[in-house]
Assembly symmetry: C2
Homo-oligomer: 247 residues x 2
Amino acid sequence: MSAQSSLTPIDIATLRNACSTCSVRELCLPAGLDLQELAQVDKMVNRRRPVRRGDYLYRAGTELQSLYAIRSGFIKSAVLHEDGREQVAGFHMTGDLLGLDAISAGRHLCDAVALEDTEVCDIPFALLERLAREIPSLQSHFNRIMSREIVRDHGVMLLLGSMRAEERLAAFLLNLSQRFATRGYSSTEFNLRMTREEIGSYLGLKLETISRVLSRFQQEGLIQVRNRYLKINDADALRRLVGHCES
Amino acid sequence: MSAQSSLTPIDIATLRNACSTCSVRELCLPAGLDLQELAQVDKMVNRRRPVRRGDYLYRAGTELQSLYAIRSGFIKSAVLHEDGREQVAGFHMTGDLLGLDAISAGRHLCDAVALEDTEVCDIPFALLERLAREIPSLQSHFNRIMSREIVRDHGVMLLLGSMRAEERLAAFLLNLSQRFATRGYSSTEFNLRMTREEIGSYLGLKLETISRVLSRFQQEGLIQVRNRYLKINDADALRRLVGHCES
DNA sequence: CGCACTTTTGAACAGAATCAAGTTTTGTGG
DNA sequence: CCACAAAACTTGATTCTGTTCAAAAGTGCG
């Protein structure tokens, strides 16, 4: 059955490199291959790709070639309606895996744009599938990653479906905060990479509403904002605001 | 690597039965096994399970044992907040595969309740993973199914984030209509299986709003409603309402 | 057959959108 | 480095959509 193991050492190295250097380590680590050996090849194989601020990582309609793991930077994915309206589907940062929604149709269904200079790792999907075939634990992990994306989306649906503007924004800020914390940055002080309009689009609100609510939060002492800079003074108050819905 | 092929013929038959009888045929058909042989075993293995109206297929918090393919009937999945609020995450009908969101944590994160007497096929997840290991095309298909779920969720996010009440309901009705059509039922005449409140929860609206908009649609001649019975008179008008957002 | 649940409809209200203006910030080219 | 134009942001006034509250009618299950 595994006569299909047509993976060359280079293939494996490529994939392994993409994974290990991209904080999607878990995707490959359980594979049980020799790590030091891989570390050496890491330098040889270079699948990193820079994406400059404002540039597209991929566009809706293009064929799925690779999934992308973010090494550093910040990317938004967005669906474009025919009537011009844009809906931001997600904000992605270091370690996130992009392009999962393209697997179903074999082509991308949304745009991915860098909101700041970004470096991604290319993970050729065909290669990933082939390798997953040979390493069961890799496949398992990939399943979990896909599932996690579904869970994340459910969270957003919950937010959009049942929260008011203040709750949504509080949940959003806490979520950002937590993701920065996970990556070793400050959980209380960071720069928003996106515009008010993009936040609004993501949260199903208008940019004016975002601006107003931010101002209100600041007035109440929950946060400090100045342009893109944001400081969270009272995370607990924000949590109380969200009620008991996890983000 | 495939020394792990500990699948017994019974295992395969079980899975195959669950799939082939559940319209999730595509999940298994590409496996390239002998169909007639399987048809025979189908009768032996019976993993079908009835779920009576109002009963839970599974509950949030319970361990993931199986995915479920709906053979017939209608099921809603819903997330329960700590504060009692319930958010309907989806409505599922014949052929749909349930439980994908549980893979990430190994336990279910939402409740699944039958809205009418329903029959499901049990697909033990461990078994599915094992078999997918041996049949690459099966794994591929499973990946696509997960991805399709992500795409579906993005559609809902779009709906919740950028549509007004009328648009949401129109999109919802069209979506139901199309799914019934796919399954060989009338696309213009069917019974809603859920309450106004459940529709509202799914669409991020209150039940009164659902009721009002339905009445309005009826008054304008777009549909006919009487309790759960619904007839679509002018699907094109509904489509126009939705604008150019696919559902 | 009656009681609980669901649905409809109305009236008042609230939250967010829209419209509008003015300000600040940012990015660009001279 | 400065000036200028474009983009982003803030704030206010008004409007509108959907919610909330309330009552009554309909439906269906036990």
